[in-house]
Subunit: 274 residues, 2 copies
């Protein structure tokens, strides 16, 4: 049985989620869309992020997907309800599965969450953690420099260590025992984050928990078609850059470059198939 | 005589240009557009940046401007020709005036240029410097972390100093004597950049040279209307954030918040008047 699984993210970050999902569901077809013409989402408003998410989802839906994964934390936080209202297929975000796992992991009941400005300002992790377990304490923190630090592959690891230290200091003072990485890029900084927080802190990667949820969900789905297809990658801008950085995120060489294709379904110009 | 001067930038950065232009031309009306729904431009492709620039310019043109200043280096580098073809009013970018000034300033003939990835990859500064003066040597360098460092108002100045040091090291080794700040955000890092490069290096701020060019040009223009108007600020996303960060860039409190207005001329949704 081969399912067609659509995923979108504001850019390359969601490839960390794709990597984990594909690891658990290797025999399915993946259609990934990176909105590189309008990334990043993390500093933008809810209404803009919702509009972008609806456009991205509508595009993937035209490809006949059986399941849509919103691989972007910011879009999962702010737009999953709107996308669920628009599409009749199952929608999975990266947030819910991570909530469950973080609540399992915590021993003292004090959980930290780091993410983009938009994700943290939405308080979605805090609200969902407390809704599931009212006694929980949550300390949230935006780390806006982490995304460019990863995406630019900043070469000086000592400076990366100092930036991580600077941002995480308030969390260390709060004595959290579990830290949720609320942004697709942050798993690539995991060694620095883990070192800074120390061995007492459990680190939850929502890419992994999302993959487990996708695996469970897929066992209950009937595919629209049994024809297996090769994975496809679409971007709204600059396929070359996506391919280059994408390998860093996905952990393997993605993508033979295919010429860009015009796509009139997408309101913000043409799409490129990578 | 009151001219209506339109300016656009990918976001808040162009306010450093507005600040300088307004200083020299205080009695004119300024209409500033920040494309905050799609910023930053610096890592995007030429075709996308051109499309965004044409849309931004067309919007400002509907306001009856006498002059358009492209306050974004990336857009000036990649899209000024396309904008000039589209509009019949004078267009001024930030690049040309800075070229003239850098050539005046250099004593050894070795000029450094720093900017976003897109600006540096375009080689526009290098080509224009060499076209004006074939014997010149140019060393260009992208510093992609500078923009988020400024925009996020990263609090730890010691780390900012280290990032600046890391990026500029190759330029120091090349022994340039003049450094052109090829991005609107970089003047806000000027103290760190100047300290790192040392007193032998002249630092050229294109916001200042653009303001001088605008001043000269405006003396030759006849306004469409003599009615003076208050300055207006428009953004494609998140007026609150623009107002907050804008003060940091402009150096004074900009902007009483006016409710957002729908603008059907703009293809990517509605505009907000700040």
């Amino acid at each position: 049985m081969t399912l067609r699984i659509g995923m979108f993210d504001s850019g390359v970050g969601g490839l960390t989620v794709l990597s984990e999902v594909k690891h658990l569901l290797p025999h399915n077809s993946f259609f990934y869309f990176g909105d590189t013409a309008r990334c990043p989402y993390g500093g933008k408003s809810k209404s803009t992020i919702t509009r972008y998410s609806l456009e991205n989802s509508a595009f993937l839906h035209t490809l006949g997907i059986d399941l849509l994964i919103i691989a972007c934390h910011t879009a999962s936080a702010l737009a999953i309800d709107a996308v669920q209202q628009q599409l009749s297929i199952p929608i999975l975000g990266v947030i819910e599965p991570a909530i469950t796992c973080a609540l399992q992991a915590t021993r003292t009941g004090h959980i930290g969450v780091i993410g983009t400005k938009a994700t943290i300002a939405s308080q979605v992790y805090e609200q969902k953690l407390k809704a599931a377990h009212p006694g929980i304490t949550v300390t949230s923190l935006a780390c806006p420099l982490f995304v460019p630090l990863v995406e630019e592959q900043f070469p000086n690891t000592e400076i990366i260590r100092l930036v991580v230290q600077e941002y995480l200091q308030p969390l260390k003072n709060k004595k959290i025992d579990t830290l949720l990485l609320g942004c697709t890029h942050y798993p690539l900084l995991r060694p620095y984050i883990a070192e800074e927080m120390g061995p007492e802190v459990s680190i939850i990667n929502p890419a992994t928990t999302c993959a487990q949820a996708a695996h469970t969900l897929c066992q209950q789905l009937t595919p629209h078609s049994n024809e297996p297809l090769e994975d496809r990658f679409f971007v709204s801008d600059d396929p070359e850059r996506f391919r280059h950085i994408g390998e860093h995120f996905l952990g393997y060489q993605v993508i033979p470059l295919i010429p860009s294709i015009p796509c009139t379904n997408f309101p913000d110009g043409k799409l490129h198939m990578v």
